[in-house]
Every structure is written in C-alpha cells, then in structure tokens.
C-alpha cells in the first residue's frame, strides 16, 4: 500500500466528522446536523445531475444529434416541450411529453405486471397435494415444514388475504371469518418481515462502526488515518459543541 496523500487523509477525517454530525440527530435536531443535512442535499442533487448527463443525455441525445441522426430530433422536441412547463401561458405544451412518458411506462408495466405478478404468482400457488403427501406427509421438519398442511395453509392463506381486500361488499357472516383469517396471515407476514429486516438495519450501523474503527480499510491504510483517535476526538468536539449550544439555548 502506498502512502495516502494529505488530501486523502483530510478526506478520511471529514468523512468521520460527517458521520458523527448525522449521528448527533439521534439526540435531537441541532446545528451540526443541519449543516451535514444541507451539505448532503446539495452534493446529492449535483451528483444526480452530473451522472444523468453523462449516463443519458450525452450518449442518447447529444451525441446522436451531433452525429446527424435525424430520429433524435423527436426526443429533442419532446424535451423542449417539457421545458415549456416554465412558461406561464404555454405550460400546457408540457402535457404532451408527460403523456408520452406515462403512457410508455404504463404500457410496459401492464404486460410486465400482468405476466410476472399476476399470472406467475397464481400459477405458483396451485400445489400438488398428493405429491406433497408422497414426498413429505403432513408436516416434514427436515424440509422446513413442507407437506400437505403447508400446501393447504398456503392456498387458504392466499385466498383469505385476497378476499380480505374484496371491496364491493361489506364483510359479513362467513366473509367476516375469512377476512379475519386473512388479517392474521398478513400480521404474521408483517411481523416476520419486521424481524427479518432488523438484521439489515443493524448491518448498516455495523458498516459505519467498521469505518469509525478503521476495519473497512487495509491495515496499512488504517495506520495512517488513525480512525479510532479521530473518532474519539471528533465525538468529543461534537458533544462539546452540543453542550454549549444547549446552554445558550436555555439562556436565550
């Protein structure tokens, strides 16, 4: 590993400082967090614009136009019409490109959703119960509880959830019980989803903690940055600032 430049070293420290600024939001909204927040907004928008320019505008519009591709005049006209949104009187012209883009997606989604979400999901929800019986019996622990019971539970759970969202008639009599079963299935799924998600969220914090302790870098690099020292010093600085700020707020 080569030595880091001063700029890179400063960068590593700034990166840690910004991390701590955002974490200070856990205490409450404060000037340090606001600073980081606004910096984030400005930088993120600029990066979006730059990447969109090089990712789309340049290769798909500007270069073909400069290369004399006449077909590219059509999207150019659409773009110009979109910009009429800014004109007080002619803003209705922007409706044409908006109509175009919405229709293009709507058409794509229509077939995509119908195929993958509707048809495939329905097709996958018709288990062969006699096959399940032959392979697993009622309930097979060694195959995560596969078997006839699970097959039936899947079909009934799915049906009940779908019928819970039946809007045309009030849920009375038998429908009440079906709907109730549907809600319980939904709750089971939501709870499981929540529990499953906890892991991902903690993982994110681990990533930050790894950086604060220098574990994300090669050892030779980490030695130059002194991440632990930086973290401790910067944390003390931010906490010190918060204490002063709080005191001032109280006196004011």
């Amino acid at each position: 590993m080569t030595a880091l430049t001063t700029i890179e070293l400063v960068g590593c420290w700034i990166s840690l400082a910004l991390t701590i600024c955002i974490l200070s939001f856990l205490y409450e909204d404060n000037p340090v967090y606001k600073l980081a927040e606004h910096l984030f907004l400005g930088v993120s928008i600029a990066i979006s614009v730059v990447e969109i320019y090089y990712g789309v505008m340049k290769p798909n519009l500007i270069e073909p136009l400069l290369g004399g591709e006449l077909l590219s005049l059509v999207p150019l006209v659409l773009v110009v019409m979109l910009f009429f949104k800014l004109h007080r009187k002619l803003s209705y012209l922007a409706r044409v490109p908006i109509a175009f883009i919405v229709a293009a997606y709507a058409g794509v989604k229509l077939t995509g959703e119908a195929n993958a979400n509707l048809m495939t999901q329905v097709a996958q929800s018709m288990p062969n119960l006699s096959q399940l019986w032959a392979d697993h019996g009622i309930w097979d622990w060694s195959a995560d509880g596969a078997g006839v019971f699970s097959g039936i539970a899947l079909v009934l759970g799915l049906s009940a959830c779908l019928l819970h969202f039946y809007f045309s008639a009030p849920h009375k009599k038998a429908m009440k019980y079906v709907s109730r079963f549907g809600i319980l299935t939904l709750m089971l799924s939501f709870g499981a989803s929540f529990g499953y998600t906890v892991m991902g969220r903690i993982s994110l914090a681990i990533g930050r903690a790894q950086e604060m302790m220098g574990l994300d870098k090669a050892p030779a690099v980490a030695e130059q940055v002194h991440p632990k020292t930086a973290t401790v010093l910067l944390t003390i600085a931010v906490i010190g600032f918060l204490v002063v700020w709080k005191k001032r707020q109280k006196t004011a």
């Binding site: 909204d29 606001k34 927040e37 984030f40 907004l41 930088v43 993120s44 928008i45 990066i47 979006s48 949104k85 922007a94 908006i98 883009i101 919405v102 293009a104 997606y105 709507a106 989604k109 195929n115 509707l118 048809m119 495939t120 329905v122 097709a123 929800s125 018709m126 288990p127 062969n128 119960l129 006699s130 096959q131 097959g151 079909v155 799915l158 049906s159 779908l162 019928l163 969202f165 039946y166 809007f167 045309s168 939904l186 799924s189 939501f190 709870g191 989803s193 929540f194 998600t197």
Partner: protein
C-alpha cells in the same frame, strides 16, 4: 389550525402506478386543505413528479375556490437521492411542524425514518403503499395504514367517478376468479392434472 399538512407521494417515478394513485388522492387532499384555508407542503423526490404535483395542488385550490391561497413554493423538489430526500423531508417535519403527515405512494427504506420522525413530532400520520417490505413499519409507526391495493381503492373511492369505481368492482371480480382458479387448480393438480397451472404460465 394554522399548521400545514405534509404530503409525501413516495419516492418513485411518476410512471409508477402507486405514484399516479397518490397524485389523484393529492388532488382531493389539496382541495380539503384549501377549504379549511390551511397550507399543504408536498415533498417530492422526482423532478417530474413535482411538476405534476404542482398542477394537481393548483387545481385543488382552484376547485375549492381559493386559487389565491395556492403557494407554488410549497411543492418542493428535495433531492432525487433516497436518503438526502429523507433528510430534507425530516427537516420540513422538524422545522415547519406539520400537524398531519400523509405518506401515500411507493416507499422504500426511508419509510421508517420518516414515520418515526413524524411520531416524535406528534403529528397525525396516514400512510399507504403497495410496497410489501415497508408495510410493517408504517403499521408500527402510523395512525392509519392503507395496505396494498387499498391505496388504489381509496383514489377510486375518493374520486367518486363511476368509471373508476366500476374498475374497482371489476378487479374484485378478477380477485374472486383468481381465488377460484387457485382452489380449483390445487384440486386438479393434486389429482395429477396441471391444466390450470399451464393456463397461467406464459412464454415457455
């Protein structure tokens, strides 16, 4: 009274069906807000969604008879980066203190940060999305949550447009048809006849 309503139409493009449903509901919400002579802040993640939301809110205020109360600076483009958008929207919640937060549309991981910030702000929170991964968080942190297709149903219901309501009814019938197919298909598959499965399989 006097405190604004914050409306977040999700973070997906205009072309997403959930965003379109959200825009339709936004029209109704804006109209109601205008009738009470209150303010509505719309926080957008996608530039083109902001442009449309702006039109929708303007139309809502116009219909309520208060076109003068409409304020274009209240429909804002925040950032197209998910968490920058989230930070910016948090900022609105903390500093402009809306009384009600409405999250309708397609949400991802930012859902819980938004809903929790709204919760400590003691705002009334209404959420709705068809994004299954985020529903648990809205259910945990909001006062009311619309689940999945309820989001589409609300927009059709609020519009009171018979053509939209009828499409709702049509999807209900398809739903029952799907349930019938699943039950029948399972029975047939179990006696070794995969005809229903084949019927629903495309492109192989």
């Amino acid at each position: 009274m006097g405190k604004p309503v914050l409306y977040v139409p999700g973070i997906d493009e205009l072309q997403d069906i959930q965003t379109i449903a959200s825009m339709l509901i936004l029209g109704q919400v804006a109209k109601t807000v205008a009738e009470y002579q209150s303010e509505i802040i719309v926080s957008c993640c996608i530039p083109i969604v902001r442009e449309v939301a702006d039109e929708v809110v303007k139309a809502g205020f116009y219909q309520a008879g208060h076109p003068d109360a409409y304020h274009p600076g209240n429909t804002r483009f925040i950032s197209s980066e998910q968490f920058a958008f989230c930070a910016g929207t948090n900022g609105i919640m903390l500093r402009e203190k809306p009384a009600t937060n409405i999250y309708l549309g397609r949400f991802f991981a930012e859902s819980l940060i938004l809903a929790e910030t709204g919760y400590i702000n003691r705002s009334i929170q209404i959420a709705g999305t068809a994004e299954a991964t985020q529903l648990p968080f809205f259910v945990a942190a909001c006062d009311y949550t619309l689940i999945g297709e309820e989001l589409f149903a609300v927009s059709a219901y609020l519009s009171r447009d018979p053509r939209l309501v009828s499409s709702l009814k049509a999807s209900d019938y398809v739903k029952v048809f799907c349930v019938a197919c699943v039950l029948l298909g399972t029975a047939l598959a179990s006696i070794g006849n995969p005809i229903m499965i084949d019927l629903f399989t495309i492109g192989e």
